[in-house]
Structures are given as C-alpha cells and as structure tokens.
Amino acid sequence: MATRTLDAHGSPGGLNYLNVTRGFKSWATTLDHKRIGIMYLMAVSLALLTGGVFAMLIRTELFLPGRTIMSAETYNEVFTLHGVIMVFLFIIPSIPAALGNFFLPIMIGAKDVAFPRLNLASFYLWVTGAVFTVTAILVKGVDTGWTFYTPYSVQSQTSVIWMGLGVFILGFSSIFTGLNFLVTLHKLRMPGMGWFDMPLFLWSIYGTALIQVLATPVIGITMLLLVAERVLHVGIFDPALGGDPVLFQHFFWFYSHPAVYIMILPGMGIISDVITTFSRRHIFGYRFIAFSSIAIAVLGFLVWGHHMFVSGQSEMATMIFSFLTFFVAIPSAIKIFNWTATMYKGSIALDTPMLYALAFIFLFSIGGLTGIFLGALSVDIHLHDTYFVVAHFHYVMMGGTVMAFLAGLHYWWPKMTGRMYPETLARITAGIIFVGFNVTFLTQFVLGSKGMPRRYYDYLEQFQPLHQMSSFGAWILGSGFLIMVLYFLRSLRTGAPAPANPWGSLGMEWRTPSPPPLENFEETPTLTYGLYDYGKVYPREAS
C-alpha cells in the first residue's frame, strides 16, 4: 500500500474530536458536525444492514416457486420494508447526512456547518422517523410497497398511517440537512476558495441540497393527504370515495424522481474525488462535471411522468416526459466520460476506494444505459413493472450509490476513525461484492425482458433457473457485506493508526490530522495549492 504523508503534523495522542469530551451525553447533545456525521453513519449503516436482511429473505423466498419460507402476506411486507428502509432510512441520508456532514465543513475550511443546532435537530428527526417506521413494522407491518400506490394504500389493513407519518418526519430531517448545507456552502467557504475551487463532492452535495429543499415538501404533503384520507375518509386518491388514484402517482413521483438524484448525485461527487486521488490527476473537465450536477438537479424535476407510461396518462404527456427523460441521461454520460479521461496519463493505484470507484463506473454505466431502454416508449410498455426495472434501479442505486458510499467509507475511514482498515482483505471483499452484485442483478434484466413481473411472490416454472441464480448472487453479496462489517469493527480496535494523509490526496480534509481536532484545523487554513493540482504537487513519483 502506498502510504505517504504530505503534512508532517499528524498528532497521535493529541486531542481530537473523538476524545476531547467523553460519555454518552457528550455525544447525544453534541453540536460538532463530525460527531453528528458519525451518529448518522452508525444509524444509516444499521438501516442498511436491516434492509439487507430483508433483501436476503426476499431472495430466499424466491429461490423456489410457491411457498419457500413465508406466506404471500409476509412476503409483501418484507419487500415493502426492504424498499422503505433502504430508500428513506438508508440511501437518502447515507452520503449527504453521514459523510457530507463530516466532510463538508472541513472541505471548505470551516469549523462547522452554518446551523449546528439545526443539524442536531435533523438527526433527531431522523431518529423519530425511524421510530415511527419501526412501530409500523411492530404493530401490523406495511404491505403497500415503498411506492404506497393508492387505492391499495388507502384500503390496506396494515400500519400505513404510522409509516406515512414516519416518511413525513424523515422528510423534514432531509430538508433541514439540505438547507443547512446550502447556507454553509454559500457563507462559510474559507478565504480564497471560490465556487470553482471547491471539490466536486461539494458541487454534487449542493445539487442534492437544492432538490432536498424543493422536492421533499411534496412527499410530505402527499403523505399527510394519504393519512387524512385514511383517517377522515376525505376523497382524494381513493376512487371509492370519489378520488383519483393516478393523482397520487403524480404527487409521489414529483418527489420520488428528483429523490433518485438525491440518492445518486452525492455518490457521483465521491467518485470524482476518489478517482483524482488515486490517479494523481487533475479532474478532467471540472466545469462540465460541476454544471452537470446542477443540470441533473434541474432536469430531474421534469421527468416524473416516465414512471407512468402505462398508467393511463395522456399520450401527449407521455411523449413529453419521454423526450425530457433522454436529456437527463446526457449529464450522467458526460460525467462517465470525464472520469475515464481523468485516468488518462495518471498514476493509478488500485487501493480499495479506487476499486469501488471503478466498480461504480462499471455498474452505473449499465444502470444508466439500461435507462435508455426504459425511456424509449414502445420498449417501456413491455418492460414497465417487470424485473428489468428492478435490475435497472438496483444497478443505479446499489451499483451506483452504494458502491460510491463504500468507496467513500473506505477512503475516509482513516480520517474519521484514525485507524486503517485491512487493505488486502478489503480488496478481496470488494471483489466478492462486485461478483455477487452482478450475479444477483444481471439475471434480473433477463427475467424482466422475458416478461417476469415484479413484486411476485410466486412465479412460473420457466423463470426458476434465473431466479435461483439471482438468489445465489444475493447470498454471495450478503457474505461480502458481513465480512466488511467484521473487518471495520475489528479495525476500530486493532487497526494501524492512520497518518494524516494515507492516500496522498490534495483534499482539504487530508491537510489536518486523523482524526481531526474539534475545530477541524489546528491553524486557520488557507488554500496554498488547488485541490486537484496533482500535476504541480507530484511532478514525480517517489516512494
């Protein structure tokens, strides 16, 4: 492993944000963005593992047609919980609220976010939302799917009200985080750091925060309307009460399509920073990548109707949504090309974060390209609501966001914890996860294009070989995650102490000790060299 220190002042044994105060209360009432980030990280990791257990149950049930380990009613609850937990409790807060919280202020040379109290409030809102969700699971479960389509969600006998309120509260957590980041980026950049000196991770967080603030209120209102309809029997969405079920789909996707970009944009930011670090190269086309994040944020608001091509919306609407959908593909393509070009003439080291970044490029490309099939109207009619969509979604969300999250987690683990993880074992685990993921989801593209509808408890015999292969893949994938949890936990006790800059990165967060002191920097930082000026700092490799 190429371990190298740019700055000499790694101060092991000194005071840092972890040991400056101690005890439960010092964490529970902390206003330090780094501690809040760590608490978020623990919380979303727990959500990821819980959602993962539900995923394993789904794939095990589908190993054989008919009943394998649970009833149809239980299965419907399990896939709903998998979706709700992964989307609302894990993936939306994962990168912005956990990693973003920790690193955004450091990256701009600030001591904290603009509103530290709001930041802590946002974490407790997340906890409250999670409590509502868990209550829903414990009371009667929820079986509506994470999309809560009406009129099913109005008529379902399960705990939809608890879950709806949970999503409503989680929405506020998301809005507060976004608002906080917007103000922080506008107001607290250190002297000398202009917008175009920021790391690309922060551009992507900026785009994400815009969507969080503008789109999330819509899901909040929609959930309240749904709860109102169930409790007060006001006809809004349920046709039995005179409502319109398709209206719900418009409201839901008006949030949930932009929300897909809340999920993927921060991941793209991590990839930009990891690839430059491990290629020792200036990012290729900084402005194209920065503006493509904003383009995605804006265009993401105009394509929600592509989830509804067979819902009975007008042909005119369908045509417009299809047209706009193709334009949202372009900024993502630009990013992929620019990342590839960044590696050109680089000095490429394949440490674990880079392996996950490469996995991201590979898997997200598949996820993005298969979106073209779904945007093409006549082809989408066939593929809509089949496993093809499930596979596409997982290639973008898991192959994209989760891979980026894992890249970021390994990349910043030494900085956050002050400990190194075991590099060789981590690389092997990355390989296991990559193989497991592809076996699980590549098969699902074929299942879908052959006509297997999604959310099916039972299936026809002709689909069995592919379903079994997918289940095998899921078990491989699950084992990979298990190994990762174990080595991360172990590294907290036995990992080698991390130097200030193990990767030789030029990012601001690597110009302060690991773990950082409470105020982030020992002296007020200045931008003496650019964050991507690898050509100037590393004229020559010497180790």
Binding site: P151, Q155, G285, F327, V379, R455, G535, A542
Partner: protein, 312 residues
Amino acid sequence: MNNGTLQMPPQASTMAHQVDALYYFIFWGCTAFFLLIVGLTLFFIIKYRRREGQVLQPRASHNTPLELTWTIIPTILVMVVFVWGFKGYMKLAVAPRNSLEYYVTAKKWLWQIKDPNGQQTINEMSVPVHQPIKVILRSEDLIHSFYVPAFRVKQDAVPNRYTTLWFEATTPGDYNLFCAEYCGAGHSGMLGKIHVLTPEAWEDYQKKSAGRPEEVSPEDWGRQLYNSRACVTCHSLDGSVKTGPSFKGIFGHRVELADGSTITVNEDYIRQSIMDPTSQVVKGFQPVMPTFAGLLSSDDIDALIAFIKSVE
C-alpha cells in the same frame, strides 16, 4: 410454442417485431458504448499503473471541443431512440377501426372477460388470429395491469375509468396474461391465458355455449370451474394454507368464523360464501374474496358444491 430468444419472449403479435427491433438497436448501441468505456478504463489502469520513479506526463485538465463532442453525439443518438420509440408507442396507442372489442374487468385477483358476443369467462380469453383486438379495461377495486409479454402490450386498469389497449395476434397458441401492478396477497396468482385460435377453432368457439356439457358430471364440472373461475388462486386442495381456507376435507366440518361463532360447512354455507363472500369469513383469513354473483349459474354452484364434497 417456442420460448423466444435469450432476452425476449416469443413474438406473437404484429407489434412484437417492431418493439424488439428497437430493443436490440438500443442493446447493441449500449453494448458498444459500454465496451468503449470499460476498454478504455482497463487500458488506462494497466498502462498508467503507479510505478516507482514514474514521471507524470503533462496533460490538459480539460478540452472543450472533445467534451462538446461527447455531449453532442450521445444527444443525437438518444433522439433517434426517442423518435423510434414514440412512433411505436403511437401505433400501440391507436386501435384499428375494425378491431373486435373485449371488455375486461380486473378485480382481486382475477380477470373477468366479456367477448364481443357477450359471453363471460374468467382468466381465459379466446381471440381469433390475424384480427385486431381492442381490450377495454376497467377495475373494480385497485389498480391492476393487463400484461401479455408475447404481444408486448401492457396497460393499467384503473377504478372509475376506462383504459384501452390493442393487439393483433400472429401465431395461434396459448399466451400468458399477467397482472403487472402490485395488488396484494393474490397478485402473483392473478394470471390468465390468451388463447389465440385459428379461424376454424374460432368458429367452433363462437358456437359453444358456456354451460355444463351434458356428458360431464357435476363433480368434474366443478373441478373445471375451480380452475377456470380462479378458485385455485386462493384455495388449495391439499390442505396448504393460501389466501383462503383449503377445500381439503372442509365439507361437513365445523369452522370458527371471524366473529367467534362456529358454523358447519354445508351446501348453504358454500353458496353463501360464493355469493356474499365477506359475510361469513373463516377465522384467520382476510375478507378479500370478490363476489361471484352473476358470474356462476345455480347449476355451476351445484357443481362446485359437488366438487368440494369430493375433496377429502
């Protein structure tokens, strides 16, 4: 019946070829782009791997003409895909004037089909080959979706609203009909068959009446109804618990109802459970069965009773 290609189900409608042509155009285009990206990435990883004493060669940090090129070329390509997909979609959206009209009602968890002669069937739809068929859809409860992979058609059925789709089958045979919009416990059992008939078979079908043929015993007719009227979706014959109680040995036994009372399963109870299913639900089950009033004749119900008696 063939099983189609590696990626696609059999092509059994006039639209299938057109949809598949676009699918494969996108597939090969994407494959080319993907191989380009992955190839370049692998090449760079190997060629520019980190070595000791390596001198970083100067390289531009951006190149606007190059970046504009890789913005514009994909834009043009996806516009081709958009226009192609839109044209196919418009064909799917407008049914030919000479279409035969079928009314299909979706409800938990079956398809109720009324053919152009007014004959009602459940989950079984017989259509002539080489004839445009227009399906007028509605739903009685939730959103369902009418999906026939071999025809490449799909359309949601929405309560309080009519939606339509059309197809023209090109090959006689039996094709799967799926519900593609999640609708609860019986969603994956909400299956049907589209029988595409040759012109001769279509004439025979039109002559045939729906009732019990003379030569079939009530018990056998009941067994046929059990399958064709979708009882099988929720009620097993082997004692396994599905969405509804199993029929195995149920006749003549006392069962406990949801309100705590008990009742003996006799002819009256079965008839009541078919006509007004939610009135006397067995304990432990949800009141989700739709009524079959108007869908089964008295003769049919007699046959079902005879069949249930026979399941021991």
